[in-house]
């Protein structure tokens, strides 16, 4: 049972813990994830106070510039089951420095942009790219692009000399969603004084993901074939850092958090994985296992019920998830327990139904409500229908936490977000209906169908 001395576990937190432990809670839990613009839109729509300055909301790592931590007043108002936090960047928020084009220590191969450029704590150069309701920091310069093209010895020397961010910098713990409160105190407060479960993430891109940012999207893929040794060395370095980042987080707040979302990845497009299974097994899996196992072992010492969740967008093949779950701690405990964010509009062989059938006994799932069409453009009734489908497909025996299939953007109407929450509370009560809802994927999950 949950080890909270002298206190019953609040129903919201228990719901999440049960779902993660693949037991049926009283109902399917729900939480939200969104961009700053989406969050502001939601607060505005709910008649809550909101802030117009992006950086007045704590945003975590610079890698995920537009992420916000949903505040407790909103979680209370919407009766959510958990909240998310992420560590700030080493050096403290916001993590960006505006620099002159001539200060960039490498050749970006582009003419000077007309607006100021920024550099993040990894040395990745970014440019503010506005869209109709906000904007984001697009990457335009990759500090290790040349290192990976250089002869191996030279590349490795550059890797060694690279000014890596400091994963032990406690400035990462300075800010929290409550102004003036440190992140450690905030987590303690949420854990002890509120009913919400807490998910935490150390602030960086994943291994392959951060490698993409450092080397560049166009280059990283051919590196699997052309520069495998450099790529391996880079990933070893990134795993070392990932473990250190997670160690800092666990040392500081491990006893207050219910699960860790390890640094997120993108392993697939909507159609298929970026690399073949063979390359994944040979060139990526050993690195993931090392990072995940070390993190799980550290976390279990602080929270024996702690779980670990892995993220990728796209049509991640089942074979990849099976390989992920094969990583075990020295006590034989599966290192990765959960997977998000389950975009539903992907090739069906890697869609929700198929994942539940093929690997649902080993993993819990988080996400799944389509943010590419249904949430931004559907009607509230269409959102409700999708929630029913997903809960029926993924909820049996626990193991499902409802959320959008990626961040809520500003294009999602507040009515649709509310419909998602309400339908989860109505339809998601256990035991779930035996009969599939209209339009549910009831096949064996293997053949393609048109939804």
């Amino acid at each position: 049972m949950v080890a909270i001395v002298g206190k019953a576990v609040p129903p919201q937190r228990k719901r999440v813990i049960d779902a993660m432990h693949l037991r049926e809670p009283d109902r399917v839990p729900i939480g939200l994830w969104g961009t700053y613009e989406g969050y502001r839109n939601l607060r505005k729509g709910l008649g809550m106070e909101y802030n117009d300055e992006l950086f007045n909301y704590r945003t975590g790592s610079t890698t995920w510039t537009t992420d916000v931590a949903f505040e407790l007043d909103l979680a209370e108002k919407l009766d959510l089951d958990f909240v998310r936090i992420s560590l700030g960047p080493p050096g403290g928020s916001p993590g960006f420095r505006t620099i002159g084009f001539e200060e960039v220590p490498f050749d970006m191969g582009i003419p000077p942009p007309s607006i100021p450029i920024n550099v993040d704590e990894w040395g990745v150069v970014r440019k503010w790219t506005p869209h109709e309701r906000g904007g984001y920091y697009e990457m335009i310069g990759y500090p290790l692009f040349h290192a990976t093209s250089a002869p191996l010895e030279e590349g490795l020397r550059e890797l060694e000399a690279f000014p890596w961010p400091d994963p032990r910098d406690l400035l990462m713990m300075t800010d929290s969603p409550i102004p003036g409160m440190s992140l450690r105190d905030y987590c303690k407060y949420v854990h002890e004084e509120t009913p919400f479960a807490l998910m935490a993430q150390a602030g960086k891109g994943g291994l392959f993901e951060q490698a993409k940012y450092l080397v560049g999207y166009a280059k990283i893929f051919s590196d699997f074939i052309e520069a495998p040794k450099f790529l391996d060395a880079l990933l070893i370095k990134l795993v070392d850092l990932e473990i250190e980042f997670n160690k800092t987080m666990i040392d500081e707040i491990g006893e207050y958090i219910d699960w860790i979302r390890v640094s997120p990845e993108d392993l697939a497009s909507e159609k298929t994985s970026f690399v073949s299974l063979k390359m994944f097994q040979k060139q990526l899996i050993p690195h993931y296992h090392r990072a995940h196992i070390a993190t799980k072992e550290m976390f279990l010492k602080k929270n024996p019920l702690g779980k670990i969740q892995f993220h990728s967008c796209g049509a991640v093949p089942l074979s990849f998830l099976k390989a992920m779950t094969s990583g075990k701690t020295k006590d034989g405990i599966q290192a990765v327990d959960g997977f998000d964010s389950m975009p539903p509009k992907v090739a069906r062989h890697s869609g929700p139904r198929s994942k539940k059938l093929m690997i649902g006994e080993k993993m819990f799932f988080y996400g799944g409500i389509d943010v590419q069409e249904t949430l931004p453009w559907g009607t509230p009734e269409q959102v409700r229908r999708e929630v029913r489908l997903r809960i029926w497909e993924l909820g049996k025996g626990g193991g499902y936490i409802v959320s959008s299939s990626h961040r809520l953007e500003h294009d999602v109407p507040v009515a649709n977000t509310l419909a998602m929450i309400e339908e989860t509370k109505e339809y998601g009560k256990y035991p779930l209906p035996e009969q599939p809802p209209d339009g549910a994927d009831v096949g064996d999950g293997l053949q393609e169908i048109q939804r």
């Binding site: 590196d223 497009s269 294009d411």
Partner: protein, 294 residues
């Protein structure tokens, strides 16, 4: 020199695998002079295998033997990259392999481009492509542009975050048969719609066939915004573009029949894919029966 290339066959992808598998053993280039046969064969496989360091080294001797740049592009390079596309489509190749092959094509096209311009033969058509306003992503669009070029189109790439007015100016200037919009974000894909509206308002809609593509883009989105074709991947885009300038060249942009013809291409491919999957499953089942019996 005259060299007969079976152009009809080059993009007939369903036959290609079988074709090329046989080629590796025998030879596809029977019409080529003996001294070039081996070279063409090597060039094709150089692209399929993605060995870009050697590409130009294979092209130079061919050029010295008076083979035209266009022959190389329409011949071994086209069949090579088409096979790469087929493998990508069938999940035999993934981005690393495709990027390596793309590097070969880049190296080869870099060497051949000045010669093509000098040759001044008739183009099959001009295509204008760009990533819509507010969106800076262009890897996918670059692959499409390159594949279009390899297929014989003249490609005008307007780059990233292209305002509708720039598309309109490019349509007026270059008179393309096709214009393609790329978008990676749900927040920017709406600009595809806006751009089509602007093109229609300017009275240019019938002059161009509008292609859309990008990660969040779907056939449903293409239908909704009134685009003519959705390119699920680069190869599909090229396949549809070629149809637009050949058998469908008389149709106007925005014509519902053109839209239906584009959908028919997807249907034919899906059927072929299903057939192949079924054949594979059948072969595996037979092998299992055989193994159990043995």
């Amino acid at each position: 020199m005259a060299l007969k290339i079976e152009t009809e066959k080059e993009f007939n992808l369903d036959d290609l695998k079988q074709d090329i598998d046989t080629t590796r053993k025998t030879d596809r280039w029977n019409d080529a002079p003996t001294e070039l046969k081996e070279l063409f064969h090597k060039l094709e496989w150089n692209i399929i295998d993605g060995e870009h360091a050697d590409t130009v080294g294979l092209i130079n001797p061919a050029l010295e033997s008076q083979v035209s740049a266009r022959t190389l592009i329409a011949g071994p390079m086209a069949t090579g990259i088409a096979e790469v596309g087929r493998r990508f489509k069938m999940d035999e190749y993934f981005l690393p392999e495709v990027m390596m092959s793309a590097k070969c094509m880049h190296a080869a096209l870099g060497r051949l481009k000045p010669l093509i311009i000098a040759e001044k033969t008739e183009e099959i058509g001009t295509v204008v492509v760009g990533t819509v306003q507010g969106d800076l992503h262009d890897i996918g669009k670059k692959i499409v542009a390159m594949m279009m070029e390899a297929a014989g189109f003249t490609v005008i790439d307007l780059g990233v975050t292209v305002p509708p007015d720039d598309f309109i100016a490019a349509i007026r200037e270059h008179k393309p048969k096709i214009v393609g919009f790329s978008a990676l974000l749900t927040t920017t894909m709406n600009m595809q719609w806006e751009t089509i509206k602007r093109i229609t308002a300017e009275g240019l809609r019938q002059d161009v066939k509008v292609f859309v593509g990008g990660a969040p883009i779907s056939q449903a989105w293409c239908d909704k915004i009134g685009a003519d074709a959705y390119g699920m991947d680069a190869l599909v885009a090229v396949e549809k573009a070629k149809a637009c300038v050949t058998k469908l060249s008389n149709m106007k942009g925005g014509d519902p029949e053109l839209h239906a013809a584009m959908l028919a291409i997807d249907k034919a491919r899906d059927e072929a894919k299903l057939k192949q999957a079924q054949a594979l499953a059948q072969a595996q089942a037979q092998a299992q029966v055989k193994a159990a019996a043995g």
